[in-house]
Each structure stands twice: as structure tokens, then as C-alpha cells.
């Protein structure tokens, strides 16, 4: 083997090693989906929801991360329920501008007084799940702002796939107690328990229903 051939081979090996060492950023990125319930009594919580998202979730996003805002209404498995999408640029200055722009989208959403009669949480979760999966992000988190009481419109059927929430951390945020919950806490507890069982059964990485809004930042850091 001539000296030249050895040098070429070394260059080739180095190139292959370098290419194989290169990896996509996706596995280090975080994709977050925020589901906002706008049905029934929970519609009044819109402003506080938006406040939590703006103060707790958006500032924690770093360049490359993404955030999707979806509403939970009578038929949530619908692209129209996507109220806003944010994919942060890798340049910090651009990312900051995008955050501020998205804050305006959130404000518009909070100002919109539309509400729904039924609560299709499962549909929203399915839509959110497919969007999170499409991001291929290493960390996928789903925040559900709802009272977690599902009321499906007649004729609507929802069933999760076995791997529906694979690799996802799901958090039920700001779960307010309904009158019937206050009258009998067991109703609330069994409802949350059912959700936990159902979500974990469909491959979710974790479930949390007692996260304080002030702990969102730490929670995201922990999951990253």
C-alpha cells in the first residue's frame, strides 16, 4: 500500500467517524403541548391558564424547542383546535422575538370568549400526541389545563392506541374542583385515578396531577 493510499484511507476513516459522530439536535430538544379546556365552567380559567403558560412554560423554552397550544372543546380532534405553534429559532435573539410574538397569540386566545358545551379531553390528547410525536423531540411533555371531567358529545368515540403516549410526560395542571367534587372528594380522586390508570396504560412515561404552577420550570428542567 502506498503512502498516498494510506493517507486517503485515514481521511476516509476520519470522515466516516465524523459523520457518524454527527447527530440530529432533535433528541436534545423539548416539545411541549399545552391543552386548554374552554368548555363549561373551566372556560373562566382561560386568563390564569395563559398566565401560567406565559410565565412558566414559554421562558423555559430554549432555541430549538417547540410549543403547541390546543383548545379542548366539544370535538377536540380537529386541526382547528390548534391555536398556536411555536418552534424556536437556534439564534437566541430570534428566539426571544418569537417568544414575545407567541405571548401575543396567547393573549388573543385569553381574550377570546368562545366556549364549548362538551369536553373532549381524549381527542385533544390524541391530536397533541400525534403532534408531539411528529417533532421527534427527545423530551415530550403534555400539559392539560382542565378539570379533567370528560363529557363527550353523542356520537363521538375516543380510544387510545397502546403506544399513544409513548415517551411522553403528562401533567394535569390547575385541576379545579367542581361542585360535586367539593361535595364528595372521592369523586374527584377516583376521576383523577382513572385518568392516571388510563394514561399510564397507554405507555405514558409519567403522570402528574399535583404540580404547582410555580414548579413548572423545575419540572421541565427535571424532564429535559
Amino acid at each position: 500500500m502506498t503512502k498516498r493510499k494510506i493517507i486517503y484511507s485515514l481521511f476516509l476513516i476520519s470522515g466516516v467517524l465524523l459523520i457518524s459522530a454527527c447527530s440530529d439536535n432533535k433528541e436534545y430538544e423539548t416539545a411541549i403541548c399545552a391543552l386548554a379546556d374552554i368548555s363549561g365552567t373551566y372556560a373562566k380559567e382561560k386568563k390564569s391558564m395563559v398566565k401560567i403558560i406565559k410565565a412558566g412554560i414559554v421562558p423555559k423554552l430554549v432555541p430549538g424547542d417547540s410549543l403547541i397550544l390546543m383548545s379542548i372543546d366539544s370535538n377536540s380532534f380537529n386541526e382547528e383546535n390548534i391555536k398556536g405553534k411555536l418552534k424556536l429559532d437556534y439564534r437566541p435573539s430570534q428566539a426571544n422575538q418569537q417568544k414575545l410574538k407567541f405571548a401575543q397569540t396567547l393573549n388573543d386566545f385569553a381574550d377570546n370568549e368562545s366556549s364549548a358545551k362538551y369536553t373532549d379531553i381524549s381527542g385533544a390528547m390524541m391530536l397533541c400526541s400525534s403532534h408531539l410525536k411528529s417533532t421527534n423531540a427527545g423530551t415530550q411533555i403534555m400539559f392539560i389545563f382542565s378539570d379533567m371531567k370528560e363529557e363527550l358529545k353523542p356520537g363521538i368515540k375516543r380510544s387510545f392506541n397502546n403506544d399513544e403516549f409513548e415517551n411522553m410526560d403528562i401533567v394535569a395542571m390547575n385541576v379545579i374542583k367542581l361542585n360535586e367534587d367539593s361535595a364528595n372528594p372521592q369523586v374527584f380522586r377516583s376521576r383523577i385515578k382513572k385518568w392516571k390508570k388510563r394514561i399510564l396504560k397507554h405507555s405514558a412515561k409519567s403522570w402528574n396531577s399535583s404540580l404547582d404552577p410555580t414548579e413548572i420550570s423545575d419540572y421541565i428542567d427535571e424532564k429535559r
Binding site: 465524523l18 440530529d24 436534545y28 410565565a55 439564534r91 437566541p92 435573539s93 417568544k99
Partner: protein, 463 residues
């Protein structure tokens, strides 16, 4: 266990029979079993002993090699020092003694001037007018004492003229003396000049002698190293270890400096090199920042090489002075460029941090205090200064790096020798233990068959 019993109902008897049978068997098989155990002992313990001996010889060879390397490297270092010192002497001669002829000429001129002044200063006493002889002659004329009026008048006139002449002679002498004094006083600065010139000569000669003295010192060291005595080896080894420890400390500190430098420019680099790709889990922007920091160190190495402080690349050391100067300028310019880039990045970093803080505040709904942040110039100035200074400090890392590379050869060899030595001792101990174990087994074996042995001895003695 019971399955071994010959008579399961009588375990004691079965055991006794088994023991007796084994004793007879072992007695009869004593010679081959002893041989087998001896062979095993020789095989294992002897083999291990040989390994230990081999390790010892390897250690000795390595120690000798290490000694040679240490001596050779120090001889080379001494030679280099002496060569450098010779260059310095040459430079010193050129620098200090180059203007010596001019100085000498100046000194000569001054001395000539002083000599001329001195000659001019030679005091000549003005002669008194020759009236005395005339007076004496007239005084001896007959009738001078008889009160001849003519002679008396003449004498009076002569007396008066003599007094006038004396007065004018004294005045003349005073005038000349004053002139001489003036000349002498004008000689003082010239003397001072001569003294100054002599001092200059003394200083320059001392400097040259001092440089020459260093060569003598290095030559003594060189001779000592060449002899390579045990004391010298110990001294060199201790010196290398000391250098290794110091360089490790300095390199560690420099490593922290590099980390701070990296942190300073990593964030703003993400603004300049935005990319969704990672290499070995690192952002491309982070790698770019790392490249900048590494480049600073590399340029620092070239700078130190060009200055002749380090001698890592012999090719650079062999360059002509002009080329080395070019390399020096290139390295200085390169570091200056990178330092300026870093200063700019540090300012950008502060701007990004301030914007991030303002965005977070705006998202949280609180009043933005960007005015306050922008107003604080101290942080920006501090970061920019740090960004500009750190590359220069990092450039100095070439010196301890060279020290580390040089001393690590010896220190690492010493460590390896120590580890191999330990392994040798361990193998020796195991060999000794196995040897003892085999001997103990043979003794226990003999003790076990003592009854048949004694019976056998008895029968032999009777027959």
C-alpha cells in the same frame, strides 16, 4: 458421605478401614506423589519466580533507559542553554561594545582637551624689570653716598620706577593667575565627562563579563550532567518531578481559565453559528467556541516558539531570524484578532443575557427594566476586558505545556517502573507462598502416612 461407607451400619469401622486403606495407598505411592508435588512446585512457583526475575530485569532495563533519557535530555537542554548564552554574549558584545570606539574617541578628545588646558595653565612668574642691577651699579658709583644731587635724583627716579614696575608686574601676575584659574575651573566639566565615560565603560564591560560568567556556570552544570553520577541523576529526577507537579498545577489553572473563556463565548457563538446539528452531543456553536479557545492556545504555542521561549518544534527553532520574526508577528496578530473577537462576543453575550431577562420579565407580565440593564456598563466593560485578556493569558500556556511534556516522559516512566516493580514483588510473594504451601503439603502427606512409614522402616531394619 454414607454412600462411601463399606458397611453403612458401621460408619466408624468403615471410616477406619478407608483411612487405613488410604494410608497404605499413599505410602506405596509416596515416591511418585512426592515427585508429582515437586514438579508442581517447580512448575508453578518456579515459573512465577522466573516471571519475577524477568520483571526485575525489565525494570532494570527500563531504569537504565529512563536514566539515559533523563541524562540525554538534560545534556541537550544544557547544550541549548549554552548555545543561547553564546548568542546572548554575541548580542551583548554587539550591543554594548559596538559604541566602545566612539566612547574611546570621546574619552581621548576629552583627555587631549584637559592636557591642552593643563599646559596652558602652567604658571610663569613674571620677571621683575632689571632695575635692581641698575640701582646697584649706580649705587656703587663714587659720590653716590656723598650726597651728589644728580645721583640722588637718579636713584629716587629709579626707586620710583622700580616700585611702579613691581606694581605692574604684580598686577600682571594676578591677571595671569586669574586666567589660569578660569581655565582650571573650565576643566571640571571635562573631568566629569571623562568620569562618566569611564563609568559607562565599566558598566558595559561588567555586563559583558556577567554574561560570560553565566556560560561558565552552565559549562560546570553541563560537565556535571555529562559525568552522570548518582547524585546528578537524583537531582535531575527531583527537578523533573518538581517541574511535572508545577506544570500540572499551572495547566489545571489554565484549564479553568479556558473553561471560563469557553463559557464567555459559547452563548454568543450560538447567535453567530446557529445550527440544528450536534457532534458527539455538543452544539456546533459550542464546538466553534471550543475551536476559538483551542486556536488561542495553538497561536500561543507558535508565539512562544517564535520568541524562543519554548522549543517544541525544531523546525521553528531552525528558521532564520527574519522568518521567525514573521511568525511572531503572525501569531501576535492572530491572538490580537481572536482577543478582539472574544471581546466583541462578550459584549454580545451581555446583550443576549439582558434581552433574555427582559423577555422573561415581559412574559411574566412585570414591567421591563431594560433601561436599568442597559445603564449598567460595568458588566459589559468587565466582560469585554475579560474576553480580551483571557486569550493572552491562555497563550502563555505553551510554557507549562512544554514543561509538562518534557517532565512527563520521566515521571510517567518512573510510575510505570513502580507499577511493574510492584507486580514483580507480588509475583515473587505468590511464588514464595506456593513454594511454602507445596512443602507444607508434602510434610502433611508424610505425617499422614507416618504409621505405614514407620512399619516399613521397622521391616526394612529387621530384614
Amino acid at each position: 458421605m454414607s454412600s462411601f461407607y463399606i458397611w453403612p451400619d458401621m460408619p466408624f469401622l468403615s471410616i477406619a478401614v478407608l483411612v487405613a486403606a488410604s494410608m497404605i495407598f499413599l505410602y506405596l505411592a509416596r515416591t511418585p506423589l512426592h515427585l508429582a508435588l515437586d514438579s508442581l512446585d517447580e512448575g508453578i512457583a518456579g515459573g512465577l519466580k522466573k516471571i519475577a526475575d524477568w520483571i526485575k530485569s525489565v525494570v532494570l532495563k527500563m531504569q537504565e533507559k529512563n536514566r539515559k533519557v533523563l541524562l540525554e535530555s538534560n545534556i541537550a537542554e544544557s547544550e541549548q542553554k549554552i548555545a543561547q548564552e553564546f548568542k546572548r554574549v554575541e548580542a551583548s558584545y554587539t550591543k554594548h561594545l559596538a559604541d566602545y570606539p566612539a566612547l574611546h574617541l570621546k574619552l581621548d578628545e576629552n583627555i587631549t582637551s584637559v592636557d591642552a588646558d593643563f599646559k596652558e595653565c602652567g604658571q610663569v612668574v613674571p620677571e621683575a624689570p632689571g632695575w635692581n642691577d641698575a640701582v646697584e651699579s649706580i649705587a656703587s658709583i663714587k659720590g653716590s653716598a656723598s650726597g651728589d644731587r644728580v645721583i640722588e635724583k637718579m636713584l629716587k627716579e629709579l626707586h620710583k620706577s622700580a616700585i611702579d614696575g613691581e606694581k605692574s608686574a604684580i598686577a600682571e601676575m594676578q591677571k595671569i593667575s586669574s586666567k589660569r584659574h578660569k581655565i582650571l575651573s573650565s576643566m571640571a566639566p571635562v573631568w566629569k565627562k571623562i568620569q562618566k565615560a569611564m563609568n559607562e565603560v565599566d558598566t558595559k564591560v561588567s555586563l559583558v563579563l556577567e554574561t560570560s560568567g553565566k556560560i561558565e556556570k552552565y559549562m560546570q552544570e553541563y560537565e556535571k550532567v555529562r559525568k552522570g553520577g548518582e547524585d546528578t541523576i537524583d537531582m535531575l529526577s527531583s527537578k523533573a518531578t518538581k517541574l511535572f507537579i508545577f506544570s500540572i498545577i499551572v495547566i489545571t489553572v489554565a484549564g479553568f481559565g479556558a473553561f471560563v473563556n469557553f463559557q464567555l463565548i459559547a452563548l454568543p457563538m450560538s447567535e453567530l453559528v446557529p445550527a440544528g446539528t450536534r457532534v458527539l452531543g455538543m452544539h456546533v456553536s459550542d464546538i466553534s467556541a471550543l475551536v476559538i479557545v483551542t486556536l488561542e492556545v495553538v497561536l500561543g504555542i507558535f508565539l512562544m516558539e517564535a520568541l524562543g521561549v519554548t522549543n517544541i518544534f525544531p523546525q521553528i527553532a531552525g528558521l532564520t531570524l527574519g522568518k521567525r520574526r514573521m511568525l511572531l508577528y503572525a501569531a501576535v496578530l492572530g491572538i490580537f484578532f481572536l482577543a478582539s473577537v472574544e471581546a466583541a462576543l462578550a459584549i454580545l453575550r451581555e446583550h443576549i443575557t439582558a434581552t433574555n431577562a427582559a423577555t422573561t420579565q415581559a412574559l411574566a407580565g412585570s414591567v421591563s427594566t431594560t433601561a436599568g440593564i442597559e445603564g449598567s456598563k460595568i458588566t459589559v466593560i468587565g466582560q469585554a476586558t475579560l474576553g480580551f485578556t483571557l486569550p493572552w493569558i491562555l497563550a502563555m500556556v505553551a510554557v507549562p505545556l512544554e514543561m509538562l511534556i518534557e517532565s512527563s516522559q520521566h515521571v510517567l516512566s518512573k510510575l510505570i517502573i513502580l507499577v511493574i516493580k510492584l507486580a514483580g514483588y507480588l509475583v515473587g510473594i505468590i511464588s514464595h507462598l506456593l513454594n511454602t504451601l507445596m512443602k507444607t503439603i508434602i510434610h502433611i502427606y508424610d505425617a499422614y502416612i507416618i504409621i505405614p512409614t514407620q512399619i516399613g522402616n521397622l521391616i526394612k531394619s529387621k530384614s
